[in-house]
C-alpha cells in the first residue's frame, strides 16, 4: 500500500468516498466499509486508523442521537445508523490516502499533477505545522493557568470567555511564525529559480495502473447499479424502527 504512487491512491480514495456517498442503506454501506478495512490493514495502519476513529466517536454519537430524535423519516434509527456508517466509510476512504502518503510525497504528486509549486509547498507546510500548533496551544494553556486562569471551572459563558486568553496568543504566535518562516525562506533563496528540478520523480508503475483501473471499474459498476439497475431487494433492508 505504501509503495503505490500517491496519485493512484488518490483515485482509489476518491472512488471509495464517492461510492459511499451514493448509497443510503445499511447493507451496501457496510459492504463498502468491509471492503475498505483490508486495505487499511494492508497498509499496516489499523492502529492509527482506530485512533482517528475514536476521535470521531463523539460526532458519531451526536449524529445518531440527533437524527433519531429529529428526523422525519419512517425509520429514524435505521436511517441515522446508515448515516453514521456512511460517515465512517467516508472517513476511512480518506484515511486510506492520508495515513499512507507522506507530506512531501503529496506535494510532489500535486506538482506532477501540474499544480504550481508554491501552492503544493504551501499545502505540505500547512500539514507540517498542525502538530506544532497543538504543542503551542498546550504551552499557552500552561502559561495562562500559571497566571490564575481557571480553564475548567465556571458556567458555560465563563468557559467560552476563557478561550480568549488561549486563542489570541495562538493566532499572534502563528502570524509571527509565518512571517519569520517567510523571511527565512526568502533569505535562503526560495523562489529564486523559475524551474525547479526534483531529486525524486513519481512514476506510475503497472500496479498503479491496476489500482486506477480497478477503482474506475468499481465506480462505473456502482453508478450502473445505483442509477440504472437499482439495488436488489435484500440490500434495501433496514431496521424496523
Amino acid at each position: 500500500m505504501h509503495r503505490l504512487d500517491p496519485r493512484s491512491k488518490l483515485v482509489l480514495s476518491i472512488v471509495c468516498a464517492s461510492v459511499s456517498m451514493m448509497f443510503m442503506d445499511i447493507i451496501p454501506l457496510l459492504m463498502v466499509f468491509i471492503c475498505l478495512l483490508p486495505m487499511i490493514a494492508a497498509a499496516k495502519s489499523l492502529g492509527r486508523w482506530a485512533t482517528s476513529m475514536k476521535g470521531l466517536g463523539a460526532l458519531l454519537v451526536f449524529v445518531l442521537v440527533f437524527n433519531t430524535l429529529l428526523s422525519p423519516m419512517e425509520h429514524p434509527f435505521s436511517y441515522s445508523l446508515s448515516l453514521a456508517i456512511r460517515l465512517v466509510a467516508l472517513m476511512t476512504s480518506f484515511s486510506l490516502f492520508f495515513l499512507t502518503v507522506q507530506p512531501d510525497q503529496l506535494s510532489q504528486a500535486l506538482i506532477q499533477m501540474r499544480v504550481k509549486f508554491e501552492f503544493a509547498f504551501a499545502m505540505s507546510m500547512a500539514m507540517r505545522y498542525v502538530p506544532t500548533l497543538g504543542q503551542e496551544a498546550y504551552a499557552i494553556m500552561d502559561a495562562q493557568r500559571a497566571r490564575g486562569v481557571e480553564l475548567d471551572k465556571g458556567n458555560l459563558i465563563k468557559r467560552i470567555r476563557n478561550i480568549i486568553p488561549i486563542i489570541v496568543p495562538l493566532i499572534i504566535v502563528s502570524i509571527r511564525r509565518a512571517l519569520s518562516i517567510a523571511e527565512s525562506m526568502e533569505s535562503r533563496g526560495f523562489g529564486a529559480n523559475e524551474n525547479r528540478t526534483y531529486m525524486e520523480m513519481l512514476r506510475f508503475k503497472k500496479r498503479d495502473w491496476a489500482v486506477v483501473l480497478a477503482s474506475l471499474l468499481m465506480l462505473s459498476l456502482t453508478i450502473y447499479v445505483r442509477f440504472f439497475a437499482g439495488l436488489p431487494g435484500w440490500m434495501l433492508w433496514g431496521l424496523p424502527f
Partner: protein, 274 residues
C-alpha cells in the same frame, strides 16, 4: 517552603525528563537553577506550581501535598513566568495585561492599579501603559510578561529564563527588583544560562544534568566544581578565569573565587603583602 521528594517525570512515558529530584526551598531564599539544554529545568519548575504532576514522588507546598490542590490555588502562592512571553500576552494594552493577573487573584481596582504602576516603574515600562503588547519589541514583551506575574507578588516566584533578550541595564533593573522582593520575604527561583547573572544575584545554585540534580549549594561552591561546568555546558565565568590566571602566579589565590569583591580583596591582599 517547597519540598520535592524523589520526583520522577517522563513525557509520554518515553522521554524521561526527571529521574528522582529531591530538594527543599526555604522561605526567603534566592536561588538559581542551571543546566544544559534538556536537563529538565523547566520540567522541574512546572512541578512547583502544579502544571505537571509527579509520576512518582511528591511535591509539598507549605506542608500540603500539591496533589490535592488545583493549579489556580497553587498560583496564588507560586508565580511562574515562562520563557516565551507571546504565550501569555493577549490583551490590547500593557496596562490591562499587567492588571489581568491581579484581577484573577481578586485584588480590588485601586490595589491592582497601585501594584501595576509600581511594577511597571520598577521594570522600566512607564512609557508603555497604553501601548499594545504586540507592537513592542521582543525584550519589551518579555518585561511585560514578567510584570504581569511580578505585580501579584506571589510568595514564591519562579522565572524561566528571565534575562533573554535583555540588555545589561534592563538586567540590572530586574535583578534589583528581584532582590527587593526577596528582602520583603519573597522566595525567588530562576532558571537561566546567564552565569554572570547568577553569580551577582543568587547565593544558592542548583545544577541539573540528565534529569538529576548534580550539585546543590552555595553559588561559589557549585560554580567552582569542574564536573558542574562540564556537564552543564557552561562557559567558565570571567571571574573564575581571572582567578585561575592569578593563581598561576600567586599560589595563595583561593580555589573558590567567583565574586568581583572577593577577587578585589585577594588582589589587595597580595598587593598589600608585597
Amino acid at each position: 517552603m517547597i519540598i520535592l521528594e524523589d520526583v520522577h517525570y517522563s513525557y509520554d512515558g518515553v522521554y524521561t525528563a526527571l529521574r528522582g529530584i529531591s530538594l527543599q526551598i526555604d522561605d526567603g531564599e534566592r536561588l538559581a537553577v542551571i543546566g544544559a539544554n534538556g536537563a529538565g529545568k523547566t520540567t522541574m519548575m512546572k512541578h512547583m506550581n502544579g502544571l505537571l504532576r509527579p509520576q512518582k514522588g511528591r511535591v509539598i507546598l507549605d506542608g500540603q501535598d500539591t496533589k490535592y490542590m488545583s493549579v489556580a490555588e497553587i498560583a496564588r502562592a507560586v508565580g511562574l513566568v515562562f520563557q516565551n512571553p507571546d504565550h501569555q500576552l493577549f490583551l490590547d494594552s500593557v496596562k490591562k495585561e499587567v492588571e489581568f493577573g491581579l484581577r484573577n487573584l481578586g485584588f480590588t481596582e485601586s490595589e491592582a492599579e497601585q501594584k501595576r504602576q509600581k511594577t511597571m516603574v520598577n521594570l522600566g515600562l512607564e512609557g508603555f501603559t497604553e501601548r499594545s503588547p504586540f507592537t513592542l519589541s521582543g525584550g519589551e514583551r518579555k518585561r511585560v510578561a514578567l510584570a504581569s506575574v511580578l505585580s501579584t507578588e506571589p510568595r514564591f516566584l519562579a522565572l524561566d529564563e528571565p534575562t533573554i533578550g535583555q540588555d545589561a541595564h534592563q538586567k540590572s533593573l530586574l535583578a534589583q527588583m528581584l532582590t527587593e522582593m526577596n528582602k520583603r520575604g519573597r522566595t525567588v527561583a530562576v532558571v537561566t544560562h546567564d552565569i554572570e547573572f547568577v553569580i551577582e544575584n543568587f547565593p544558592r545554585t542548583i545544577a541539573m544534568a540528565d534529569g538529576q540534580i548534580i550539585a546543590d549549594g552555595s553559588t561559589s561552591m557549585v560554580l567552582s566544581n569542574d564536573e558542574v561546568i562540564e556537564r552543564c555546558a557552561l562557559a567558565l565565568p570571567q571571574m573564575t578565569l581571572a582567578a585561575r590566571a592569578l593563581r598561576n602566579v600567586f599560589p595563595e589565590v583561593g580555589q573558590r573565587l567567583t565574586l568581583l569583591s572577593e577577587l578585589e580583596e585577594t588582589i589587595m591582599g597580595i598587593l598589600g603583602g608585597a
